[in-house]
Symmetry: C2
Subunit: 417 residues, 2 copies
């Protein structure tokens, strides 16, 4: 008899019919003997609806009150779901983030879990009940309601699995698992059986939406086996787990792309100490996250070009800031390009295989896909290319690294939205 934490997203509990269907699924599992903690998101669309409501009463809704408001979304689903389970003759009890003992810091809207008091859940489990926990929410040391930010229910589930010492954390989504590439982009993409936390973490950072970044962090830190699978089929899914020798043999595990960044190049920056700081300080002061940064020699001696990427939504604002800086530091013209894509290949095997980068560049060059920026990490290589080539690049690299036929499954790519 295993202790299992399951998480169902907003589309899985979108309406009474879905809720009843998931309840059937959960009750069936319970009858097989497993102890179950079920974490639920708000009904699909509910959070956006509540945010819109808040903006109808206030120009800039107070962060604390926004969390009080948003927390009602999950409270509604856990109550309805518990009713549906009991209606099937199985004992269930709902818990809000507070009742489930999910303690967080006070950064409203993006709170981080600081600790979990497991006694309340454990007591109910010992009474033989299915415990239904409101995802995405917690409470701070003064009892204020907090929320964990988008995708927070994944984090709630993995954190609970870690705290409860669960055998597995099952994340039910609307996809069948983690794929080598976005099946919508390349039909040859394959579903993975297993993937390492490190790879999954890079995938999530690169824009794969299948798991929330912080939930992967939690899984990695506490070694929680995470199973990603579909709530609409009974397909096996993908297990995110500790790396092993087999995984290390795999050079490239998967490919992601991301069209949500814009590029900015500031030319002829005086090549002196502190210049980079002069450029990036005002950008971070404006709350804009910089992703890739590449500095290269410019045509003119004693000068350098600095290129970097920012979220597309912040591209225009960043351009204005950088143009002002350029004048101050007497640099050259500033060029911006918002129609780029970042394509990345990820794999543990890169650590001890050479020539991976070369193979990536060759394959893309052969299709006349020009590389505007390159950035590498221990298990990842990312290139900035023209946006229109993104899907082509995915297919080209998928073939080049033989992901279709490789011994192990691969990682899904989904475009960030």
């Amino acid at each position: 008899m295993a202790l299992v934490v399951q998480k169902y997203g907003g589309t899985s509990v979108a309406n009474p019919e879905r809720i009843k269907a998931v309840a059937e699924k959960v009750v069936g599992r319970r009858r097989k003997g497993d102890d179950l903690v079920v974490v639920l998101s708000a009904r699909a669309g509910e959070t956006d609806r509540l945010i819109a409501l808040a903006h109808e009463v206030s120009l800039s809704p107070d962060a604390r009150e926004m969390d009080v408001l948003l927390a009602t979304g999950e409270q509604t689903t856990v109550a309805l779901f518990s009713m549906a389970v009991r209606n099937l003759g199985v004992e269930a009890i709902s818990m809000t983030g507070y009742q489930a003992g999910i303690n967080t810091d006070r950064s409203y809207g993006q709170a981080r879990i600081s600790g979990i008091e497991t006694r309340p859940i454990m007591e109910k489990l010992h009474e033989g009940r299915i415990v239904v926990v409101a995802g995405f929410q917690g409470y701070d040391d003064e009892g204020n309601i907090t929320t964990l930010g988008r995708g927070g229910s994944d984090t709630t589930a993995v954190a609970l699995a870690a705290a409860l010492g669960a055998d597995v954390c099952e994340i039910y989504t609307d996809v069948e698992g983690v794929f080598t590439a976005d099946p919508n982009v390349y039909s040859k993409a394959r579903k993975l059986d297993r993937i390492s936390y490190e790879e999954m973490f890079e995938m999530a950072s690169m824009g794969a939406k299948v798991l929330h970044l912080r939930s992967v962090e939690f899984g990695m830190k506490y070694h929680v086996p995470i199973m990603v699978l579909s709530s609409f089929t009974d397909a096996p899914g993908t297990l995110v787990t500790k790396e092993d020798e087999e995984m290390e043999k795999v050079v490239v595990s998967g490919i992601t792309y991301n069209k949500n960044e814009g590029r900015i190049t500031i030319t002829n920056v005086p090549d002196q100490p502190g210049m980079a700081a002069r450029v990036f300080r005002p950008i971070s002061d404006a709350g804009i996250n910089v992703d890739l940064i590449v500095q290269s020699g410019a045509g003119i001696p004693g000068r350098a070009d600095i290129s970097f990427t920012v979220p597309k939504t912040a591209h225009k604002k960043a351009m204005e800031i950088v143009e002002a800086v350029a004048r101050e530091i007497d640099a050259g013209p500033v060029h911006g390009n918002a129609s780029i894509a970042k394509i990345s290949i990820i794999g543990l095997g890169m650590r001890n295989h050479s020539g991976v980068a070369a193979k990536m560049f060759d394959s893309l060059a052969r299709e006349n896909i020009n590389l505007k920026m390159i950035s590498t990490s221990e298990i990842k290589i990312s290139c900035i290319i023209e946006e229109k080539y993104a899907e082509l690049a995915v297919r080209v690299l998928h073939d080049a690294f033989e992901l279709e036929t490789a011994p192990h499954g691969r990682i899904e790519v989904q475009e960030e939205t």
Copy 2:
């Protein structure tokens, strides 16, 4: 500077526009220097919407989970309202029943307040904030969410006023106060300036909807001055308070009627000890509340007729039960009449004025309104008459006791729904 508890009902916070309007009103009051605790109901219709949702997932929704679900209604309004107040530049903070320290027993759906921990609210008041409390909800000793039942927000407000030692509890509704009679039934009805708890209590019991029965109980028990007024006008309203000499001079304060009962008469009951119990035990076992009971001698010696009233909704069921009992105890035929009305006159002055009943009966008789049952209490006389005469009876008695011109205002009548 006074400490004031205000309660706004569902129609007052039905949508963002209403919420902003009430926020303006409250902020204006705050700027005059009063400390404010604002108790809110769920948006009009929200509770019914949630109940319908529950019945879509479960044939008989679990009581605990129903309270978890319903509690989201008030949590939503307090969050939105606090945002609206802060948007006007005044500090406000929302509190759920739990955060406000409203401790109850565990009778889900109809919990009774057992105690209030005032420290959290007091702290926020001392910080100069408007404290916005979710009405209708509380928590039991194990931290389960409970609700107080329909009209529970009135009870929350009056209980908070008592616990906080507020100077007054203002209940904002969609009527301008307490009237001598339903203005829709009799245009001569007058709004009261003041009324005693005892009278208000009888009014509420008799079906006047302006205040929730339990909130009047609380006010009476803890001597909380309750002001009933409209949230849509600035009219003065009616103060519910301790009785004083002036009030005692008033023979009849107001008139109510109620069309929600049905009458049952069981004839020729053997006049022996224990017979009444034989009749009423099975009715109460069926969960049916009996209101008036009158026993009278039947035509036959050693026999008696027993008449009583039950809620119209339970009339048919009660008839079946009684007919069975009649056979068992060898009584005569059972007669039922579901088209009756109960008309009541209420006034502290009855205690030391004679002839009030006679005057009531005469006035009705003069209009050929036949009295089917009569029941009296210290400050109330109720008669059962044919339903069709209800409105006529209100007007006749209003004139007979000169309520239009009497020195003090009178009590509203509203038909229970």
